[in-house]
Symmetry: C2
């Protein structure tokens, strides 16, 4: 990959020959492509979300209707549906698009740093990523669809930049304007931003993510175009959501796109609360660094022993993981004793237990039918991740979860996320990270509620801070993560608190290892050039450097 | 100014000699300085705001109590107070700190681009800027205190980087760690971000402002430290505001720091509304470009003819401007007929006319005392700018202002802002820009309300979009402006609309001229190096380039 334009004599001659008209055409095509990337990524995101919500919604409503009669039959059906979905995902990925596995962000980061990993931006990768994500997320694995969306945006951008895919005869001559790698790199940057903007409905967060996490080089002009792309994505997604409101999208309703509204959350915070919040930051840094380290070991082991044995092993592995996930998420809530519902007179507006098949809190799962009871573990475990997070973030539901359930869930889900990482399916780490973080955040929140009795504290706010801290401790982003968290929770008042927690968790995490994407990129043999030499390199000479590499 | 560290042999020798301990100390001092910058800028911002609010509040309450008896006496007192405040400001600036005039952002931009303008970051400039701002803003001129705050943040940062001011014996040896210009540059970047964060209580906006508008060079490491500084500012400001809530800060109450809460504004928007919003964008681009052009002429004329004649001319000029401003802002509302208050039964929660001396809408000014009447022009004109904007942004007050009043105000304030620009007082263009923009935005909003009768439209939302469009058309910022607008209005739902308006207004403005800061920087002879050569330069050879410069 030629990183910068090579300014040789021939190039300059050519540039001089072209007139103003060509230049105007060139700029216009750039903007037109930015528009197309925005529309394409937005539509892809809407398609994936509608599919996932429909599969998952259908799965849960079917299971719920069966367990009214028999829990064993429900269990079998639940496992089978998950298995089929996950199998379809891993089959697509292993047979057609091996590059679509994983989150894709480390590879994109490498690409923008100047390393073109083979096959990472092909048309088949795009297709594999889209359908693979639907299967793996719909199948209830402990992974998210946000990382893949970034990759999808980058793929769309790169394909446009090449003028289509030549292999599948989808190319067109007049689109092949961009001959320099720099232009293509700019387009891929736009695609990344569009991916984040579409994944979280966070346009500003998308721009910042592209800026902070992905690119190595940045120009002010580019920011402007990236911003435009994100705005287009926001408009496309919003239009599609409006269209879905009329009920044409099946189960895709309130559960749909991630926005965990916290705007009726905690209004104010006192200085006393800063200590537990700092504790959350420290926990986030520790657990995040541990997560990076564990996934590093798991990935290395997989690469060196397991994945060398061919595709069949990969498929069996993923199916096993799916089986374990299904058993745990169905079985553990069964063992949990049900809790009585809160007094409806003291808590108006809470529906408990909720009617089966609807989204919401207070799931009745293996509880007495006539008693007003709910299963707090099932509320978070036996649910789509989006809904589980919504329940964890929810305000005005103090003491909904018991500490025991949260701890069980934390340990189980953390292990599942580590095991699922780097299997041969498209997988993002954002939503699992938010799940893990909000669980221990809510735990800390519960202790705070019990400790300072009189303060106006919402456990959901602590869950949000926990989520921010875990992501900060694992991915080591700052500004972009902060903006994304604010945009998805729709509450600006928590901004200083999120900043505080992120600062602590990143600092703690940095004491142990590097960020998730950097570690993974290095493992895949993608060297990321840093903008500044490290301190140890000061005294190095070229010979030592070479011996270090080989 | 040495832009990058010069890596010669001696430097590398020195670096190699120092041990790990020195390196740790060096990093620790960097973070400690970032902390100090945050605290210093935050305190400066609080000090300026409290002073301005107290002066202005005292001025208005005195005038109001006098006009209950005699309008002539009130008029004289009003003019005199303004004159004294403005005179003190211009006296400080001309006598002690000539570099403190203007907004300072072009100079800082030049500094971070590698040009050290003489005296721009001295201790006396800092002091002149702080006290000058209090006088000029408190004196009711058509300028803001936000640009100066950015300059103040940069001054504090630079002084810390030098280890104090040697001239005034405030320096200290052990602080003089930073010998390279790069470290100093990084600190100044932190200071800029702190300034914006303090001015608008917008920490993320501050980081983005430093990134997008001010710096020419950016490292990912730096972002992290800038983010930390902004977070500190947010904490300092919040603490001070909490302390002021107990009533210890005089008039500094609800009027205080800029946050124009729009969270109870418009909930949704329909596609029909996109057209008038696009119109707002176009108007913003046109008026913004016109503003840049007019101020360019005015500044050039001032520099070439007026300001060469010495300080006395400068002082007289500012006093004249103050006189004109006072006469217009007091006199025009007198000529305006009062409007009857809205029916209190249909509009509960509106106090009309408001009791004198309090902040709020519906000012009774030269109206019958017993009738329920208010003066809509006085509501925006005879008020501090912060309060005027709050009134313009206010929701649930449809038909408060008449089109005639808004037009009068728009023309008058626009002219005043142009005339006031580049006088010898510290002056920011943010708040005047928001004033101008929100006025025509509200005008468009009124037409929309009249045209589409049934939609749930808030005029305040249009006012906000107008403000964004004017700033976009004048300053040509995108992402940072967007985030700042969202942070000050506390309403994330309007983000896509603000993006849309900004895109249009920037595109329209770019068709005419460059951004405000670039134009001003060029006028001051600060050459800003662009990151990429312009198209015309492709064919240039060095000889032509030289002849172009001289």
């Amino acid at each position: 990959l030629d990183y910068e334009v090579i300014e040789n004599y021939a190039y300059r001659e050519e540039q001089a020959q072209r007139g103003k008209l060509y230049f105007a055409y060139y700029v216009a095509v750039k903007w037109f492509f930015a528009l197309l990337i925005g529309i394409g990524t937005g539509l892809a995101a809407v398609f994936i979300n509608i599919s996932v919500e429909n599969f998952a919604g259908w799965k849960f409503s079917l299971t719920f209707s069966i367990i009214q009669k028999s829990y064993v039959a429900g269990f079998v059906v639940y496992i089978l549906i998950n298995l089929v979905l996950v199998f379809s995902s891993v089959y697509i990925v292993t047979q057609f698009a091996p590059e679509a596995a994983g989150s894709g962000i480390p590879e994109i980061k490498g690409y923008l740093n100047g390393i073109d990993t083979h096959g990472i931006l092909l048309f088949r990768t795009l297709i594999g990523k889209i359908f693979g994500s639907i299967g793996s997320v719909g199948g209830g694995l402990a992974l998210g669809k946000e990382g893949p969306l970034v990759h999808i945006g980058a793929c769309i951008a790169s394909l446009l930049g090449q003028g289509g895919s030549t292999k599948y005869h989808l190319s067109s001559k007049w689109l092949q304007v961009f001959k320099s790698d720099r232009d293509r790199r700019d387009l891929v940057t736009c695609g990344c931003a569009a991916g984040v903007a579409a994944a979280f409905r966070a346009p500003v967060g998308g721009v910042l993510f592209a800026l902070e996490e992905v690119t190595s080089w940045w120009r002010s002009q580019l920011m402007w175009r990236v911003f435009f792309t994100s705005a287009i994505v926001a408009v496309v997604v919003r239009t599609a959501m409006g269209w879905c409101k009329s009920g044409k999208c099946g189960h895709f309703g309130s559960g749909g796109f991630i926005i965990w509204d916290l705007s009726d959350g905690q209004e104010d915070y006192s200085f006393k609360e800063l200590l537990p919040m700092a504790v959350i930051g420290v926990i986030g840094g520790l657990l995040g660094a541990l997560f990076n380290q564990l996934t590093l070991y798991v990935t290395r082991w997989r690469r060196n022993y397991l994945h060398k044995k061919g595709n069949r092993v990969k498929i069996i592995e993923v199916c096993l993981v799916s089986l374990i996930t299904s058993v745990i998420s169905f079985g553990l809530p069964l063992l949990r004793k049900c809790s009585p519902c809160p007094d409806p007179e003291l808590n108006p507006g809470i529906e408990c237990p909720r009617p089966p098949g609807m989204y919401g809190n207070y799931v009745n799962f293996y509880c007495g039918k006539d008693n007003k009871e709910y299963n707090d573990l099932a509320t978070i475990f036996f649910n789509t991740q989006d809904d589980a997070i919504r329940n964890l973030f929810s305000a005005k539901t103090i003491h909904e979860f018991s500490a025991q359930s949260l701890l069980t869930f934390l340990v189980m889900f953390y292990s599942l996320a580590v095991v699922t990482f780097c299997t041969a399916v498209p997988a993002g780490q954002f939503v699992p990270g938010i799940m893990i973080g909000s669980t221990y955040g809510r735990l800390v929140g519960m202790f705070v509620v019990n400790f300072y009795k009189k303060l106006n504290i919402e456990e959901g706010t602590y869950a949000l801070l926990g989520a921010a801290s875990f992501l900060g401790g694992s991915m080591r982003m700052t500004v972009s993560l902060c903006v994304i968290m604010v945009e998805i929770t729709n509450n600006l008042k928590l901004l200083p608190l999120i900043m505080l927690v992120l600062l602590i968790s990143k600092a703690v995490g940095d004491a142990f290892n590097e960020g998730l994407y950097e570690e993974q990129a290095r493992l895949r043999g993608i060297p990321l050039l840093e903008s500044r030499p490290k301190y140890q390199m000061r005294k190095m000479i070229a010979k030592e450097g070479m011996s270090f590499l080989f």
